[in-house]
Assembly symmetry: D2
Homo-oligomer: 316 residues x 4
């Protein structure tokens, strides 16, 4: 049985992602992404499930920064979870009683239309997370009458669900990644994704363009690019990038070598199967057979023909 850490507390979407990935795993909630990854690094758990990005809110800075710093771990799987919210309250609460709603500001932003229609007079009370909001409501320390949270949080805390699936967007989805010790490299499946972190060299004009060209020139599509400050100075960024393909694909290997040469620093964060299982067609000129044929051809050129003698001239 796997022992897998996750960003807690219990009742978050991250726990739901972990259950979807492996319902039998021993799941260990952690107080932060850093703590979850530290448990992987220390060998205390086999892996950690952490949120990477949300289709409405964007990248999760804590995860992006922690992975950029992590020296010894790889992403080995990804999990997409639709983000659904429920309106929950202590048993016996009637909708008409709701004056204050406690939840995380992001969640409140995502149910704005529902709130306007159904609870036009309710006042929002910000909480530190949706799960914390549910917990406080359940244990009686909250100053609000209802909460907006994940279905699992309502269930965990014995809250009653007053309305289901109340999010304004029906396409909202969060992407979670499973992180394991470095070296755990999933085999190519033909529908893979690779994640890297790139640091630009300050002294090269057109730096980002030159780096992205390493993908384009080899027919590799980028899926995600996010910039994050390095913290060194205003205007100093690193880039967190997902792109199509596996490190064992020829075109990906050559692109990674190009980035290795050109970037100030580049960290490989793993190749793993795409959650959507989508196979992207590869054009002949950048297919594995094409690279392999070209390499064999180059080798034969370089070898030359030892029987042949070069004419000697005083010009050489």
């Amino acid at each position: 049985m796997n022992k897998i850490a996750y960003l807690g507390p219990e009742g978050t979407f991250t726990q739901q992602a972990l259950i979807a990935f492996d319902p039998d795993a021993a799941a260990c909630p952690m107080p932060s992404v850093d703590a979850a990854l530290a448990a992987v690094g220390a060998g205390e758990v086999d892996a950690a499930m952490v949120p990477m990005e949300n289709s409405l809110e964007g990248g999760v800075p804590a995860t992006l920064d922690a992975l950029a710093d992590a020296d010894s771990m790889y992403v080995v799987s990804e999990q997409l979870m639709p983000v659904t919210f429920v309106l929950a309250a202590r048993p016996g609460t009637r909708p008409g009683d709701i004056r204050h709603v406690g939840t995380h500001p992001h969640a409140w932003a995502q149910v704005r239309r529902f709130a306007r229609a159904v609870l036009p007079c309710a006042i929002h009370v910000p909480t530190l997370s949706t799960a914390a909001g549910a917990a406080a409501l359940a244990n009686g320390t909250a100053v609000y009458d209802a909460t907006v949270c994940a279905p699992v949080a309502a269930a965990n805390h014995g809250l009653e669900v007053l309305a289901e699936d109340i999010g304004d967007s029906k396409v909202a989805v969060t992407r979670f990644v499973l992180v394991a010790q470095r070296g755990a490299l999933p085999a190519p499946t033909g529908a893979d994704k690779t994640t890297v972190v790139l640091f630009q060299r300050e002294d090269r004009a057109g730096g980002l363009l030159e780096l992205l060209d390493q993908f384009a020139t080899r027919g590799i599509n980028m899926i995600r690019i996010e910039s994050r400050p390095t913290g060194a100075a205003m205007g100093s960024y690193y880039f967190s990038i997902d792109f199509e393909g596996h490190v064992r694909d020829e075109r990906v290997g050559e692109a990674l070598m190009g980035l290795r040469r050109l970037a100030a620093d580049m960290r490989f964060l793993g190749s793993y199967p795409r959650a959507d299982r989508r196979r992207v067609p590869v054009e002949p000129a950048t297919s594995d057979p094409s690279f392999i044929e070209a390499r064999a051809w180059l080798r034969s050129l370089r070898r030359g023909n030892p029987q042949c003698q070069l004419p000697r001239g005083d010009a050489r």
Copy 2:
């Protein structure tokens, strides 16, 4: 006298930026970036000062998204403020008494080294903002003994400063922008910056590269690029970009026209003087005189010479 909204509450770094910009302005704190910009849109204030990015934490999503959506306003100025933190407590508190420290998690992350050295046993209590943490400590509702906040917050709330400039990074800086009604276009100064928002066309391969090439091919340096989800679907991004130059510069004008043609959507968010006043050298081939000469030359080519008669053949 200007009436300028800002992201409140009083005591934040945003207020400090506004005071640095115009100490005599009538400053109106607003509960959110959205509210501050709405006041500009409604004509209730002359402008709004909002945080755009932080050298440690990156872009401020609320501002980036609000500006990307704003149809009727421009950035007209930027303000850089060093981020400095103080350890503050109610008067009479001795360092030895401090068991719990309440502050925003970002702030706590930025004073980690100080905390480890000086308050090794203190427990962190998360608050919604540094200013809110100071306010709660001052009004006696807090469950902690000290707070980490901006100097102005300590002063506003009558707290005693126990330690100054306790941030781990001495280069931390936040960039604020002043937003006014559209049409307010500052004149070029020779040391300007332009901000745009770009939406990629889904159906164009190599989309981002093609867009960034509009800058590179005209010798324009990018200063900042941030990706943000559009919310339409996972993997759908827009890009918030700052680059060197003013919309009235020839090379910038041609680049903006190229982006207008190639991007799914592009919003111009203003040209304004750089806070650092740095003039970037422009190479001859992309200088204004070079563009102007080329345009005059093209005009003369196109005009042709009406005296000349073309031979007529049956081939035409």
Copy 3:
């Protein structure tokens, strides 16, 4: 009636091209491309028909160099002529009598297969042109029994055609251009071609690539590119380039301005209808309406809104 010079002597493919263009023109044979163009420059003729390139032999250096130097003339039309050869001799000559065949080496190279099959023992005698070879055979000064020439040369000199269309390639074609005084700019037809001469700047790395990118980045296809030495030093080239579109097309105008800015020198040699009348589809992003819309949009941005007042701060 037009008076048109051409590269003589009578009986060349150039004369055929001129007749195809305008059978009624007063045709003046000239001893060289330089002489034909000089007659245009001096106003002695309305235009000159000269060979530009051959599908087997490539560009005609004399024409490329003369046009690159010409300051005062434009290409205004092009003419494609299939290259067909006949085997001709003085009347009464029988195939079995042919021991020596006089013709230009290029022509001999193009009938190699025919010669091997039909005249396996014939010896080639080089002549200065195919027309000169026919003339010498007709006037009795030749030391050979037959000649390979254009049908028109055989007819002009009263030679008997022993075999028709004897060229090895059935797709051989020569492209001729009609050159007139500068200023004679044919109107756009929607199926046009533009010719320019580019000189690279020595001090710019990646020079040629940067120049060609001016076409690619605006969706303009190159049709022909030929390099020619400038004569200044070994390795110093200029490029003679044909590309799709007319100088009055927006995308072409912007590309030409870009080349004007970036190249050491650039000469516009004319925009004129394609001989093949082929209309090339233009994608929306680089169409005239797209450029025109973008320019109007930029103008409105730059104009700003004079009613709006900018807040004043000490930061500006």
Copy 4:
């Protein structure tokens, strides 16, 4: 002793290049470039010296086309020869006697200024080559009084030199290449040049740009690019290209593999020492050590770590 064919007849600049390369070689004049290369192919000679390009006249089509077709030979050396002309006549001829001058039109073009100044009334009689012009003058079959030829041709034919170094350009130089059987690959010297022939794929937009980018993206400078018709159709070209570096250099190897994948066809025509011995600095990111380090790094990534076990989920 080497047996080396060259483009004859005796007395040409090609013979001079061969003597400069190896004064002791057994030199075999050949009637054409094709014949010289055929002798290499048949093993009748060790190598062939042929003209490749002239700083005034450009590429030598016969050589470019023959090399593009040659399947079994490489360029192994290059030789630069200044082009100098003499005015020569039969012994006893006085300058005042000269009414007609026989020489190749290219040579006549290169001494135009001299002729105008010294022989203003002389009439030019075209000959098939400068050497043939000298031979005819010597053997009494010429209809002219003097000839313009290479110093060696005057000497070979016992002509008297009336004026030396009469070329208008003092920088005219011809580049000759020594061609040997394939497999004869000279070792890298650090100052090398590589020659290839590229055929574009018809079905790829921006074809030439994509091919040239294979050099640029790896920091490789092009030295020469010439387009030549393939003969298949008007507008169908191949490119003859020289660039810096040796096939055994890492950056060159990767570029060649890229061209192999992307071009319709690509022929490697040899890597050989530059005649000018110039070493071009290679930037760190494209140096051999940088490529080698990147390859080792990639290998370690791909190998992964067999001790690490991947967590198993139903998601995989």
